[in-house]
């Protein structure tokens, strides 16, 4: 016999006058291979059309359906109800502006973060459209691709106690992003320039190594090793910045 699931869902619409934050319960019969994304759509179609949540790709690629599922930031589309108990508590991702119910504005956060990191290839070489493309070493390309798999879902920020405490802390997504540019041979920025961006308390030296980010990342990005790599690199650069024989 199918389980009867109880969904306790955070409801609050900041745009609506008179709306106050609270939890509301919905009941749904579990079907085979039911995932949270489908369950939420069923609830919205059959029980409450005003329920707000985000989704787009349904395949763990867009990162839009990230939310806190029974205490853990996860993607709704990649979470089967069979993995969860009968009572499922859904909250919006903390650390982002609440749009309404389970929907948060991760886009504005990531845009600001990427602007702060200057998240693009910095080069002074002129682009020649007729020249043959410069081939990148395969291993380097794969290392960059590994980090580029980040879908900017925001789970790492939602799971970071430091980011919750300090809204100016850029978090693991940012460190992973800058690590990608540090690897890229086309980016001509020096370690000193990278240091100016992330060698701060808002960057890598604000990280306390709690590793919530690493443990919840739905794409299994190697965040622990990347954070340590950036910290060592920036730590070395900090010493070079003060040691007279390195200064120039």
């Amino acid at each position: 016999m199918n389980r009867k699931l109880t969904f306790s869902i955070f409801r609050y619409n900041p745009q609506e006058t008179g709306s106050s934050p609270g939890m509301r319960e919905f009941r749904l019969e579990e079907t085979e291979n039911l995932n949270l994304f489908v369950a939420l759509n069923l609830i919205r179609e059959t029980q409450d059309p005003s329920l707000q949540f985000d989704f787009c790709c349904r395949a763990g690629i867009c990162g839009a359906c990230a939310m806190v599922i029974n205490g853990r930031p996860r993607l709704a589309c990649r979470t089967k109800t069979a993995e969860l108990p009968e009572k499922i508590v859904l909250m919006p991702l903390p650390g982002f502006r609440l749009v309404g119910d389970l929907s948060v504005d991760t886009g504005a956060w990531f845009r600001s973060m990427n602007e702060r990191l200057r998240s693009w290839i910095h080069t002074d070489e002129n682009f020649d459209p007729d020249a043959p493309e410069v081939v990148m070493d395969n291993q380097v390309a794969e290392e960059i691709y590994e980090l580029d798999r980040c879908i900017e879902c925001g789970c790492c920020i939602g799971a970071c106690a430091t980011a919750q405490m300090r809204s100016d802390f850029m978090g693991a997504a940012a460190m992973n992003r800058i690590a990608r540019f540090m690897l890229d041979p086309r980016d001509k920025r020096t370690n000193r320039e990278f240091f100016e961006i992330v060698g701060t308390d808002q960057g890598i030296f604000g990280c306390m190594g709690l590793l919530g980010c690493h443990d919840v990342c739905p794409k299994n990005l190697p965040l622990q090793d990347q954070l340590a790599h950036v910290r060592r690199k920036m730590g070395r650069q900090a010493l070079k910045n003060i040691l007279p024989w390195y200064k120039n």
């Binding site: 106690a161 808002q202 443990d215």
Partner: protein
Amino acid sequence: MQYQVAFPTASGSRAALLDLVQMLLGLALVVFMYLHALFVASILLGPQVFNALADFFERYYLAQVGGPLLALVFLTHFFMAARRIPFSQQDQKKVWTSTRMLAHRDTWLWTVQVVTAMFILIMGAIHIWVVLTDLPITADKSAARIQTGFWLGFYLLLLPMVEMHVGAGWYRLGIKWGVIKSSARNKAKRAEYYITGFFILLGLITLARFMFVSVS
């Protein structure tokens, strides 16, 4: 109006140096605390061995100079690490809510680090003061102290606080600076539990032995 998140630009050198110094002082204290536990446990080999070791440290001024230096390192480490401790009620609430929500081992471990740090700050300072203002260290004096009044209870509380803090400390340092890779994290975690357990047990046996040293 487009929503913007403020990521202010900030000068990094200070943050980086504080982090580096915090790491080095933390590491020095980890090494010191483990050696301290082993040296104090020399009482298990007899009061003569304990006294000989204490005498060695004093003859070469390691206690007289090293002691105050250690107190300085201890306090500096606290001030460095205190940059991360949420002192405002609002921040404490945020961290507490986040920690409880996640139920995540390493995030809880940080709470353990902060709480034990507060105990160690007060109790460690008392311990350092009591020992350094009554040099030389002898098995007789240490045993008399532990056998008097509330001191046994004091050390029974301080011991697990220190060992949990030190264990979590080296694990966290290893994670932060990449000495412990993600592939070795679970192994390192297990090692931390075993090492912490070993030193708590060693400390308990040492305290028990001090209870039975006959004080002249």
